[in-house]
């Protein structure tokens, strides 16, 4: 069965520290990859996405992620975190079906706490 695994469940960093959140998926077909973020009390929103082309994708708020096909990974990075990055982060993989169908499979989520 397809699955998405996020290695870190709870990460605590100080401001200005570098961030890397791991994400691995198990699916052999074509995938589209996403990172979503949920700030406290807010909607889940898209941080960045990979469809094709350059495997290094840049998103909002200085985040980036690298798709490594051989490792089935899509890790999220940020060189210097801020207190406002405190949130829950979800990796997701789009599994395509027939026609216009497809569904997102989410990882377990990683709670990031940034200390001022």
């Amino acid at each position: 069965a397809q699955s998405v695994s996020q290695h870190n469940h709870h990460v605590i960093l100080s401001e200005a520290a570098s961030l890397e959140l791991g994400c691995n998926y198990s699916y052999g077909g074509t995938v589209n990859l996403f990172w979503y973020v949920q700030y406290p009390g807010q909607h889940l929103q898209l941080l960045l996405k990979y469809f094709s082309g350059d495997p290094l994708v840049k998103g909002i708020k200085g985040f980036e992620a690298e798709f490594i096909k051989s490792k089935f990974s899509f890790n999220l990075r940020k060189p210097s975190v801020q207190w406002s990055d405190t949130a829950e982060y979800f990796c997701a993989v789009m599994i395509h079906g027939s026609g216009n169908t497809g569904k997102l499979i989410f990882g377990q989520g990683t709670t990031l706490q940034v200390k001022p």
């Binding site: 929103q45 898209l46 469809f51 789009m94 216009n100 497809g102 569904k103 997102l104 377990q108 989520g109």
Partner: protein
């Protein structure tokens, strides 16, 4: 701006009650989804719908049903609520992949309904 709204932010129901969670989107999206979000488990897909009157089971459909009579509205029904259905429920919508837009697969989420079953 895409807007996905859910009928309630917080809901408290008793065991055995029939519960309706409503979701409305204003972007004419064909595809709509219901997830539940639980700590340590991420988002799990309950049901989804690719078009009006169409529905498909997700990964955890047991104890739930759905209704999609109009394109903009997707309802999740708990036939007989149980305590293990206490959770955050998220609705989402998106365009199907045949649309030629920049982000054909981006899903837009509602604010969630936190349901407590006592």
């Amino acid at each position: 701006d895409v807007k996905v709204t859910q009928s309630s932010r917080y809901l408290v129901k008793r065991t055995g009650e029939k519960v309706f969670l409503e979701c409305v989107q204003d972007m004419d999206h064909e595809n709509m989804f219901w997830y539940r979000q639980d700590p340590g488990l991420g988002l799990r897909l309950i049901y989804f719908s690719y078009d009006v009157k169409m529905k498909e089971k997700g990964d955890i459909p047991e104890g739930y049903s759905v209704s999609r009579e109009k394109k903009e509205r997707f309802s999740l029904i708990l036939e007989s609520a149980s305590t293990n259905q206490t959770s955050m429920y998220l609705c989402a919508s998106r365009r199907p992949y045949s649309y030629r837009v920049e982000s054909p697969y981006e899903q837009y989420f509602g604010p969630g309904t936190r349901l407590t079953v006592t």
